[in-house]
Assembly symmetry: T
Homo-oligomer: 147 residues x 12
């Protein structure tokens, strides 16, 4: 199963900045974690990070016919991008939304998620481990729906 | 009269996805429709589709001195982009906003339009025919104001 | 195809009052425009204008079995009449909502439309030309659904 | 005891339209039901249906000195008419508000009732049986207050 | 100077009902008061009372070329009728809004006035004397603008 | 037909407290009223009163396979308990919500009902007679759906 | 009858500033108008203008036992001062609120009035003539309540 | 590591009711799943289900000194119980909130979570698999903080 | 005078948890404080603490005929329980609401109190001393109303 | 310990006006009460009453180095004065807010308190006894923090 | 050019209190800074600080014909005083609003500014340097508009 | 000191469009102004303008280790981009937000700024001079924090 890990704006800064909120691991570390775990789950991960909403939409479009599922961390676009939500709804690939921080414990404007409305579900608050949880949730979902 | 048809995010998916909401015609079909109709209205159409807000703003800026009018479907940016509204206001080219679906009959957050505030008017709900209506509305407006 | 043009409150004042917002054409002019255009679209227009919400509801009810479609400009009732919305939903005749002015560019309380929730779509901002666009939209819809 | 059954906009469409929401019985059927039941409760029913808010207000005014109570289904005016509320408060005749559908299970804008603020109570959701319940509630109230 | 006194819904009940809020004088009494006072102000009063929003709109339309000013008490339509507001704006006759009760001291939903937005001003809370004040305000305004 | 009458918090105080709002009859009186009426409607009533939200939820759960319908007065939980709403939705037993007082004529926070969203309908404002109306509404509903 | 005319902040600027909103007459002119009119109404006017909320409160307190009524124009304090409202309620002297401009036709934050909640009524929009109307309203009220 | 699985109202109905929303597995199935998975994660699970808010609070209090972590599904109390939030904050045991359904894709009132404000994080939308994810998230958190 | 001290959810945790917000004294300490002070005020205290809303309601009901007054700290139920408010209103025993922390200086959702609407008054922010203040306030009230 | 009692607008009217809300005691009575009680608490009271927000701010500023604590009743400024809140925060003298009436049981706009956000706590609803409670709360706080 | 520096409530406390928010410089230091800088910009500064809204309004009124511009820091009145806004609008002297702290990074209620609506612009967040920036902005504006 | 001037969407249109709002100077003029002023402040300016949110985020990221400060005019992204706010917070370079127009005097939706929450401060309303003020504010801040 080919899985796309799609990371949005500012996630390239991970590890070097605001470690009290987002932890000390870098995006590279997360990718390495995923590369270790994925084979055990029969998954083959691909990684894209971009600060560009359009690039995220394009990546979602291009995922059709290529990937079996998407683990998305839309970063700050979570709260503002109806276009990313529409892209996910448009391609109809199973998608899980993950967040490093617990969005229920932060500013009011971080409680809303447009993409989550059309995702399978949302995982937030477990730092880099949210990605592993997201991957497991996605694989489990795909397995159940392929039977 | 040179007319720019400017389509925003996810409209490249038209026809292949969610046909119950957006119909079965592709963006290519719409472009062909417009190419057939435009000559009868003394109009010469150009087509741009992009998932990129910045590309839409640039296209609007570049339209100055090139196009006599714009038919815009800002897609999901309709509801979130003050920057596209400002671009239209800034270039002062007659612009008509069109939507495939009836935004009054969908989710609450799809009722608001920033660009429509500075357009001549808005047409929503008639599927691909919204584009023909938009073109007619635009040509009629230009003709009236050129007399 | 028999088409009802149903105009709501204050539209009888058209042309003589507030021409900067609503244009200089009278309702009679609009009716004449429609009479000229309708035959080209195989449509036979009938015109009703009333300042009475009840008369509008009755006209919608009476349209059953008589008209193939309705072009409605509910005027100020657009923003307040759930009863007109219910009437349109109740008779299930294809209906298009039109407005002379661009409701997105006016007062906040003019942004909401109850009837539009149950219409095919809405056209606003093109002055008297909104009626021609509305007629074309309606005929196109009926033709597509009669095939 | 003379009882006025006052039905508001679109209730004349009952039975022939949207039976999934409003049931298959016609307003005539409801009237016949009431004529059968009323004598057992020592009640003499009169029926008025109108799509006209003013006619409803007039009917309420004219009920003074004629009717001992009113069963009102204000239809869509329930949510918008302060004037009908004022009319009921003005004539001070015991009034019961009834609805065919359960207004708590529909759109947000159908949850509010102006007239109910000055009625004895409200009954909603039981289809045509709401009228019988309304009649029983009214008769019971009148009997209790005449002792 | 010919002045139209236009009274809206439920004002026909004046004097006989809810005298603690609206006072004991009847609408007839108000009319007689006005007939006495008007000549001293060189005014000739005409009186219309209706429970019908459409009739109010029609009366406003018909006032063009006939009346020099309008004293309007829109009753409960004050808070809900954009159509009456549009009618006043459409005919452009000097209009004063009056209320018997003090709308600032009642329910929240009675604080808003659509018609007042396009009237010269508003007078509320002085019982039947509000009409005399309204007439004086109107005559004063007309005199000043005719000089 | 076995019917559960489920009464929520503070209804045990009925009759002895705040009789101006809730009437003078006790809960015992209501139960006796129901015992008299039920046989005429082929109904066998059971009564539970509790101040405990959990006990109400348990009672609803336990009603499965035992009762044909529920008449519920959730008291103050009406406005706050999503859990009771979920319980009713979960067991799928026909349920009617009743209130002694008219919730539309009281404080703003008493206008909302969570349970009513999943009930057949709601009856409010008729004092203890609301229970008889609720029983009749329920029996009528069950009879119609058993045919 | 001794009447206090109490004018709030910025009203000392009248006539020399923003005449398009507030007219060309000065506060002195208003006082002279009142001095001319008052005797005809058996009233003896006193004038206080202050930009100080505390001075307005003190003036209201001091009016007890001295003045029979107050005509107040609280200026911008209308929309923000609960303390002035409480002062009027505390001294229980008949008070009329007047405004030069029509507060319903200005910014949203000028629609609210705290003092008007405890005044007899409110008059707004008639320029300096609002004062004469306010005086007449007040005298009429006092006369009626002294009978 | 001893882990408490604490399930709130209506979760005892799992599997037999509304399987389209909550899936076909019973709470017993979930417990068995957890019993199978827990040992692999060096965890010893205990299960409590209750419809009683107080029992949930007590269970959280009693968990002190007994359990190393809590996986909580507060059911409908998620959206209403500040008391459960305070209990979790009070005992300071690492807690993960899980939901079977995706709360971002349901009614507006299901978007808010009080307990999640003081939990490590929240997982929603993955059916019974949410529990396994929650357990993994919790164990991972405890391991990281015990190093 | 017999006084009931009724403490709500999580107050059993006092002293051992979150001492920076709630202080270091335990509920037992508070009870001992009250036992020392009560005799000086001719009061005989009884203490109930429960995490159960129903138990709080029952305790209030049972207080009738037994206690002369109630000092209540409803904990988190302060902000959510209309049922406790109704219970206090129902039994009509003088009640004072106390809080350890200053609810005006905490989260927005802690500013609202349902029970305080029907209490004599509210005391918040003085730690365990709030109880002594509450007791004094209650005794003073009872003494004044017994004279 | 020197304590400042600072009373805001309209409190000079105490006793003579609206005794049903504020009681019959005058501000003088309160001062005498405080003079009697203060010595028992080793406190020396000073009294200031003013209707002037600026005078209240000045009094708070001047309290630095003079008073050990402040008991403040900001009257209507409670709900509107951020400046008084800032003054209290600026001088950092322990301050207790008191109210005669129960602000939770009055109009919505009386529920908010700016100053209470920076006070130790708030006491409301106990009439003149609120002052004694406030004094006790303040002295207790100072004693605890001086140890 | 004569420039008035007008400082509102609590700014007299500068430097001695809450230096973490407002810095360590006193108002005297700011005045000295301004005296040094002003001559280089051909400006002659005058300084007024008051805690009194009325005194601020008076100072603005008195500035007419005396000062060429005003640098105003309305302190907490920024968020509450429509009267100061009206004063600035009334005298029509170029005015710049300055704040020591960044109002966008503080409490919600500090985000709104009434006076800024009628000022040239607003500068916030630069500590005492905000005054120098304000002076430069004002001088630049006057110079540009005097050419 | 190297300073980045980062300009957002539509600012490339400066000078040629809407000069009544934004002035007649072009972005080139602003850059030249800055080049003249910067040396006097020991600053070396670099200029980036883009209509692309992603390009703005990238520019902020790339500024780390290169620039000592940023003067940002986010244009319409000010009101919608949480991602730009997060970027500024992430790189922790001193940043000043500037606006040509006074955002407090424009549409409601232009009052909010996400980036300003994490900037030193905000300057708005002084046309192109806002940039010089922004530069001065930034240099002053850096100098103070480097001492």
């Amino acid at each position: 199963m080919k899985i796309l890990f799609l990371n949005g704006p500012n996630l390239n800064l991970l590890g070097t900045r605001e470690p009290d909120i987002y932890g000390k691991k870098t995006l590279k570390d997360i990718e390495n974690d995923m590369k270790n775990i994925a084979p055990k789950l029969d998954a083959l991960p691909t990684f894209i990070q971009t600060n560009d909403e359009a690039a995220m939409i394009d990546a979602i479009h291009n995922a059709r016919g290529v990937f079996h599922g998407i683990v998305i961390n839309p970063g700050a676009f979570t709260h503002t991008s109806i276009a990313i939500m529409d892209a996910i709804a448009g391609v109809d690939i199973p998608t899980v939304e993950v967040h490093l921080s617990n969005i229920h414990a932060r500013e009011e404007f971080r409680r809303t998620s447009y993409p989550a409305k059309v995702c399978i579900g949302q995982i937030s608050g477990f730092g880099v481990f949210s990605y592993e949880l997201g991957l497991r949730a996605l694989i489990n979902y795909i397995n159940q729906h392929n039977q």
